[in-house]
Symmetry: C2
Subunit: 454 residues, 2 copies
C-alpha cells in the first residue's frame, strides 16, 4: 500500500525563515510618504510595529533565525502534513501527480498562525501589552487571538460589522482564546465615531476596521498593530510552509513542476512558493509558481503595477504594487481573505519580472473545485483554498489532455468548518458568476493620482 502522507518530525521544523529579497534580481522599490511622496525609512513604521519586525520588513539577509519560543509554539501543530492526492488524481483520471500541503491542522484552521505567533513573540519581547488588528472573514483575527493568548498579550480585534453578525462562531473562537472582538465601526475610536455619525447603520468595511485598529495603536504607547498579509515580514514568516514542503517533496523522491497557492495579499502564496523559487533563482530550476486569485478581485491578472495606498482612506505609505486602485470594492464573495485591492510589494516585483504567474477563477468554478476535492480527499476546504484547488485541477486536466504527467503541488491553506454557509449558498444555487467589466476596473484605476514606478 502506498503512503498518502509525508510527515516530518518536530525537529525538522525549519530553524530559519527564508527572505527571498536576498535572491531577487530586482529588489523591491522603496515605500513613499503618503504626503510628501518621498521615499521613507523604517522609522516611519515605529509607532505601529515593534523594532524587530521593522528590521525584518527592510532586511536583505537571506535567512532570519526563528526564535526557540516561536518554534516551540509551532510544535503545537507543525510540521504540517504533505498529502499525495491519490483520490483526487483518480477522480480526475489524470496522469498528473498531485500533492498538497495541508495547513488546516493549526488550531485556528489555516496558515495564519505562522506569522501571528512570530508577531506576538516580538511584541512581547519589546514589552507591548496589547495588539490591535482588523479581521473580515475571521481567519486572521482567530490566528492572532490564539497567538496573543500564548504570550499573555491583550488582543483587540476590529471585526467588520457585517461579518461579526454573519460569522458568530469565528468571533466565539476568538473569545475562547481570550480576545476582545468589536463590531466595527465602534464608538471607541475617532475613525469609528466619524463613520457612525454619518451612518449609524454602517455595515463596516475592512478599510474602516483597519483605521480603527491603527488609531488605537497609534494613540497608546503600550499598544501595537498587527497585519496578517501583504507586508514583507508577514510573507517571511510564512516560508516555514514551503521549506517543509521542499523537504517533504524530496522525501517523496519527487519535485513539483508547478506550485500553486491562493492569492489575497500574498502571504499564503509566498509561504509555499518562495522556498521553491529559491531553487529557481539559486540552482536554475524551472518550477512554475502560479498565484490563484478570484476573478472578482483580479489585481494580478487585470490590475496595474503602480504606487498605491495599502488602505482605503489613504493613510498608509505608498507601496509599489499590482493594484486595482485603493477604492476598488470587490464583489462580496465568500473568500473574504482574498478581497484586497493590492498585492504585497515583493510578490508584485516578482510578477513584474515574470518570475511567477497568476490566474483568476470565477466564484462558481472554485466551489465546484472545492466540492470535487472534498469528495475525493475528505477535507472540506476554506473558500480561499478553493482557488488554489481550481488551478491545480485545471493543470491536472491539461496533463490529461496532453497525455503527459506533471507533478503539481498546491497549498491547501485551511479548512472550511467555519465557512459552511458558503457551501450552503453554493448548493442552493445562490452563487452567481461575477462579471467584472474592464470599464469598472478602468474607472477605479482612473482615480489614482499616485506615482508610476520607473
Amino acid at each position: 500500500m502506498k503512503n498518502r502522507k509525508i510527515l516530518l518530525s518536530e525537529n525538522e521544523i525549519p530553524e530559519h525563515w527564508y527572505n527571498i529579497v536576498a535572491d531577487m534580481p530586482n529588489k523591491p522599490l522603496p515605500p513613499l510618504h503618503p504626503g510628501t511622496r518621498e521615499p521613507i525609512g523604517p522609522e516611519a513604521l515605529a509607532p505601529l510595529f515593534p523594532m524587530e519586525l521593522i528590521k525584518q520588513e527592510v532586511s536583505a539577509e537571506k535567512y532570519v533565525e526563528i526564535p526557540d519560543q516561536v518554534r516551540d509554539i509551532y510544535k503545537m501543530w507543525r510540521s504540517t502534513p504533505l498529502f499525495r492526492a491519490y483520490n483526487l488524481e483518480k477522480a480526475l483520471d489524470t496522469p498528473a501527480k498531485i500533492y498538497y500541503k495541508y495547513e488546516g491542522v493549526s488550531p485556528s484552521g489555516s496558515h495564519k498562525p505562522n506569522t501571528a505567533v512570530a508577531q506576538a513573540y516580538y511584541n512581547k519581547q519589546e514589552g507591548v501589552k496589547r495588539i490591535t488588528t482588523e479581521t473580515g472573514a475571521g481567519q486572521w483575527g482567530s490566528a492572532l487571538s490564539f497567538a496573543c493568548n500564548h504570550f499573555d498579550i491583550e488582543c483587540e480585534v476590529y471585526m467588520v460589522k457585517i461579518s461579526y453578525h454573519h460569522k458568530p462562531y469565528r468571533k466565539l473562537m476568538m473569545n475562547t482564546w481570550g480576545a476582545q472582538v468589536y463590531a466595527s465601526p465602534t464608538d471607541l475610536t475617532e475613525a469609528g465615531r466619524k463613520v457612525l455619525a454619518d451612518d449609524p447603520d454602517s455595515p463596516g468595511s475592512l478599510g474602516i476596521a483597519i483605521s480603527e485598529a491603527v488609531e488605537r495603536a497609534a494613540t497608546d504607547e503600550h499598544t501595537k498593530y498587527s497585519l496578517g498579509s501583504v507586508l514583507n515580514h508577514v510573507l517571511l514568516h510564512q516560508t516555514v510552509v514551503g521549506q517543509e514542503a521542499v523537504k517533504q517533496m524530496e522525501m517523496a523522491g519527487d519535485m513539483p513542476d508547478i506550485v500553486i497557492a491562493p492569492f489575497g495579499g500574498g502571504s499564503n502564496f509566498a509561504g509555499l512558493t518562495f522556498p521553491f523559487l529559491r531553487l529557481n533563482l539559486e540552482e536554475g530550476k524551472n518550477i512554475r509558481c502560479i498565484a490563484s486569485e478570484p476573478a472578482s478581485c483580479p489585481k494580478l491578472t487585470r490590475g496595474v503595477f503602480r504606487y498605491d495606498f495599502g488602505d482605503t482612506v489613504g493613510m498608509t505609505p505608498l507601496l509599489p504594487m499590482y493594484t486595482l486602485g485603493h477604492n476598488f470594492v470587490p464583489a462580496p464573495i465568500h473568500a473574504g481573505g482574498l478581497r484586497y485591492h493590492g498585492a504585497g510589494v515583493i510578490v508584485s516585483q516578482l510578477l513584474k519580472d515574470k518570475l511567477i504567474e497568476a490566474r483568476a477563477h470565477d466564484n462558481l468554478e472554485v466551489f465546484e473545485a472545492g466540492v470535487t476535492f472534498a469528495k475525493a480527499e475528505g477535507i472540506i476546504p476554506a473558500p480561499e483554498a478553493n482557488h488554489g484547488i481550481a488551478t491545480a485541477i485545471q493543470e491536472a486536466l491539461k496533463c490529461k489532455e496532453e497525455g503527459v504527467s506533471r507533478t503539481i503541488l498546491f497549498n491547501m491553506c485551511g479548512h472550511g468548518h467555519f465557512d459552511m454557509k458558503a457551501y450552503e449558498d453554493y448548493f442552493a444555487g445562490k452563487l452567481t458568476k461575477h462579471e467584472l467589466s474592464t470599464a469598472d476596473i478602468e474607472a477605479s484605476l482612473a482615480e489614482l493620482d499616485t506615482p508610476v514606478p520607473e
Copy 2:
C-alpha cells in the same frame, strides 16, 4: 526543546482490531429476543447488518485483521497524533504528566470514521447499495457519509428534526460528501408517518430516527442499517485508537497510570482503553480506566445492570447493560453524543466486574474544563470531549494536592468547530447545572419489566 507530539508512520497503523472479549474473565451475557425473551443467535441480526459484521459482533477471536482497503482509507488521517499537554500541565501547575490522543484530525472531526469506514467496506463487499442511519448531534452521520462516499454506497441519514434545524452545517457537511439527509420524523416511513399523524410539529428524537432508519433497511433488500456505538463490532473497530496510543506511550518512554475517555454508548471509551486493559488482563498491569459521563445521563454511575432495549420503542433485542431505562429522557445538553440511556454490553460487563471505573460531570464543569483546555492547548474541543478533559483535570489537580506525579492519558475525541453554539451559550451564562433527582431515575427504572441478569 521538548517534543509536543508523538507521531507514527502510516506503516505503523495497526493491522488488527483488538477484541477484548477474548480476554474478559466473565464473557458478555447473550442478547434476548424482545418478544420471547429467550437468547437469540446472530441470524436475528441478518436483516439489518452484513454477515461479516455480525460475525464480528459475536466473535471471541482476540484479533480481527483490518482489510487493506480499510487501512488505506485510515491513512487519509491516521495515525493520529499523541500530544504531551505541557501547556495544560503548566496552567494547572500540576506534577502530573498529561497526554492526549487527538482524534479530531479525521475529515469529519472525530473518532467516528474508524468504524464508519470499516462498516461501509463490509457492506460494499456484500453488495449493499444503500446504508441508513440516524444522527443527533451529527458526528456519526458525518462520519458515515464520508465513509459511504468512498465506497460509492448511497447514504441516508435520519437526523433528529430539531438538530437538523439547529445544526445546518453538520447537515451540509454530509451533503458535501453526497449523503441524503432527512429531518426526522419524515413521511418516507411508516414510523415517521405515524408520529407526524399524531404530532405534525414533532421535533423528533433519536428513538424515532432509529425507527425510521431501521424500517428502511428492514424493508429493502439492498439496504442495510448502521450504528455508530454500543454494539460489539463498533467498539472493536475503535481499538485502532488505543493500539496506536500504547505504541506512542512506549515511544515517549512512559505508560499511563490513568486512561480516561468520554462515555456515550461505549465506542469512544473502548477505543482508547481496551488496548490498555489488555495490558492489565494479560500482563497484570494496573492501569485505571475511567469512563466520563454527563451527570444528566449517568447510566454508569447511577443506573442499574439490567436487560434493557437499545431503542425507545422496544424493537431491538434485549441487552444486558447498565441503563437508566429505555424511556429515560436526558436533559438537552450540548454533548448530544452522550445522551443515550444505556451502555454497550462489553463495557457494562467490565464495569460490573470492577475492571473499569466511571465518573459523572456536571454540564458547567465540562465547559469550564473545555475552555481551560482550549486556552492552554489551542484546540477547541467538542462538548463530548470536554467530559474526558474534566476527569483528566480532576485527576491532575488531585496529583497536585497529594504532591505526587501520575501519568494521565485521555481521548481528545473531536474538535468543537461545529459546536460553537454550545460555547456561545456557556459564555452567555445560559448553561445551568442539571440536578437529576434519584426519584426521576427510580421512576424511569420502575417502568422496566425486563429480566434481571443472573
